[in-house]
Amino acid sequence: MSQTEARRIRHRMGKQERKNTLIAYSFLAPNFIGFAVFTLVPVLCAIALSFFEWNGGDISKIRFVGLDNYASIFAVKKVAEKGIEYFFTRSDLGITLKNTVFYTIVTVPLTIVCALALAILLNKIKGALFFRTVFFFPYVSSMVAICVCWSFMMMKNGPVNQIIMALGINFNKSWTADSTMAMWAIILVSVWRNMGYYMVLYLAALQGIPKELTEAATVDGANKWQQFLHVTLPQLKPTTFFVSVMMVISCFKIFDVVAIMTEGGPGRATKMLVTYIYDEAFSKIRYGSASAIAMVLLIIVLLVTIIQFSSEKKFSND
């Protein structure tokens, strides 16, 4: 092959490659333009905005303040004066973090237990389709309707309290107006709503367990409980890990239930991280500090995601 011919071929290949790239970009463009404008740019702006002070209005009034926003949400001055307790008992960020973490560490295991129990009951039973639909239904029904319904049901003299009183427990207050019960009301609604979703994930995982494994256990003389403990549960480990990570992330983003049922109250008893961001951004219009709190949320969620990625190999069976 002469050199000129080789060059011509290479030239044609290059041309072809460029044409392919152009075609690929034309496929990507409609989505990418929207994605870049409405997601990518705002993400970058959010990071930048946390170092500025701006109360909306004219953009010329925006002022660079360095780490001041972070110093104020972490209440650095007061903490230096009165100790770290101040952060967790008085500052908004401390309280919202505490509430969000409490909500997360109660909701996640509770939902997992309910979802797993439902999945095991439904696995290999006739009529599973009907029950699956029933348990899944709360997940698709709209937040506002179900939250309002639950908060009515948990009012003074509502059906929930009437049942509790009939059981001999003397509690007749509106749950959402009581500073300890309000949090439990939110947890209850969250678990009730989400258990069906995770049940579906567990059902899929249960169906993926090879039959030979349970059969072998039966031949070895294991009873149902031993089978569950030593065969089923270990097989479900990757699913449980994945589900917990997903749920921790979504718990940290909780807003809807709180906004509809308690608006963060009574006092700050159910104020969550996102509720705090919303208040700073849209009620108090302090864009800088709202962005700084948003960065706290971002960092927490990214940390959880990184943990997931780094331990994914350890937990996957295959």
């Binding site: 392919n20 690929a24 970009y25 496929f27 990507l28 409609p30 989505n31 990418f32 994605f35 404008v37 409405f38 997601t39 990518l40 705002p42 702006c45 959010a46 905005l49 009951l121 039973i125 029950f131 699956r132 639909t133 029933v134 348990f135 239904f137 709360p138 698709v140 029904s141 709209s142 937040m143 506002v144 309707a145 309002v148 319904c149 009515f152 003299n157 509502g158 059906p159 009437q162 979703y197 579906v200 994930l201 059969e215 039966t218 031949v219 699913t239 994945f242 992330i249 983003k253 807003f255 906004a259 996102v274 951004a281 864009y287 709202a290 962005s291 948003a294 949320l297 969620v301 990214l302």
Partner: protein, 288 residues
């Protein structure tokens, strides 16, 4: 349970005990299903009562007389039709744009080789991990500058280009054999032709999943509309319902009737297409 070894085992255990166990499982399931459905039942029952009957002591699960007029009352008091129309418009536009653009982009990511593909894809995946609440404020400010504040288009723009759709479709397209595309290329079909005539028809199941996910999410979205839509004429059903609740906070029976109405469209969609929905979660959720 069908294996012969297992069959012998069963016969060896007490068959009565097995039956009792079966029945027990059923009873537990029915009790749990009742617990799950109680709020819906209470909602229906309260929506047919008069206001002071809702919290009467002792409570009545079935109202004394059925007040069907509550349902005609709410249509007069709340602009439910407007809310429904706005929500349906947003949900349809988002679903349409989302499905179209993301299946288009997913084709490039799954089946074409080009410079920077992996970096770009990583960019997409990376933003799935970033919570929307972390960047909703700059997005909100930007929408204001573009002039989309308090318009349904803001909601469309917000949700139509999500990275999740691209990811879901790409995963599906990767399962379609590349030889199929190559054969079509040899036959002289352009890349657009391959997308339209081969990939799209093959990905009906994935598209169904994406459509129903997007539709349900858009219909039930609360925080986005709460931030963007202030004018009553632009509100979606979720924020409209909330406004109604705040305005008539003690008309419990009417609130329940309106809430029930808001549940109807999405329930119908879910019950008709639930197979796709649940299978979609089971496959994409696990690998997501």
């Amino acid at each position: 349970m069908e294996s012969t070894i297992h069959g012998r085992e069963i016969r060896k255990d007490n068959p009565v005990l097995r039956k009792v166990f079966r029945v027990a499982v059923w009873i537990v399931l029915i009790a749990l299903a009742a617990f799950t459905l109680i709020p819906f039942f209470w909602m229906i029952s309260s929506s047919l009562k008069i206001d002071r009957e809702v919290f009467a002591f002792p409570m009545r699960w079935i109202p004394e007389t059925f007040h069907w007029e509550n349902y005609s009352l709410i249509w007069q008091r709340v602009p439910l039709v407007t809310y429904f129309k706005n929500t349906a418009f947003i949900a349809l536009m988002v679903t349409l744009l989302q499905t179209l653009t993301s299946s288009f982009a997913a084709y490039a990511f799954a089946k074409l080789n080009f410079k920077g593909r992996d970096v770009l894809f990583l960019c997409y995946i990376g933003t799935i991990a970033v919570p929307w609440q972390a960047y909703m404020l700059p997005q909100f400010i930007m929408m204001g500058y573009i002039g989309l504040y308090d318009t349904p288009w803001a909601m469309v723009a917000l949700q139509a280009f999500s990275a999740f759709g691209v990811f879901l479709m790409r995963q599906f397209y990767r399962s379609i054999p590349t030889e199929l595309c190559e054969a079509a290329r040899l036959d002289g079909l352009s890349e657009y032709g391959i997308w339209a005539r081969i990939m799209l028809p093959l990905s009906k199941a994935a598209i169904a999943t994406l459509v129903i996910f997007t539709f349900v999410n858009t219909w039930n979205d609360f925080m986005g509309p709460m931030i963007y839509l202030t004018n009553d004429a632009n509100k979606t059903i979720q924020v409209g319902l909330r406004r109604f609740i705040q305005q008539y906070s003690s008309d419990y029976h009417l609130i329940m009737a309106a809430s029930l109405c808001s549940l109807v469209p999405v329930s119908v969609v879910f019950l008709c297409l639930q197979r796709y929905f649940i299978e979609g979660i089971a496959t994409s959720g696990l690998k997501g």
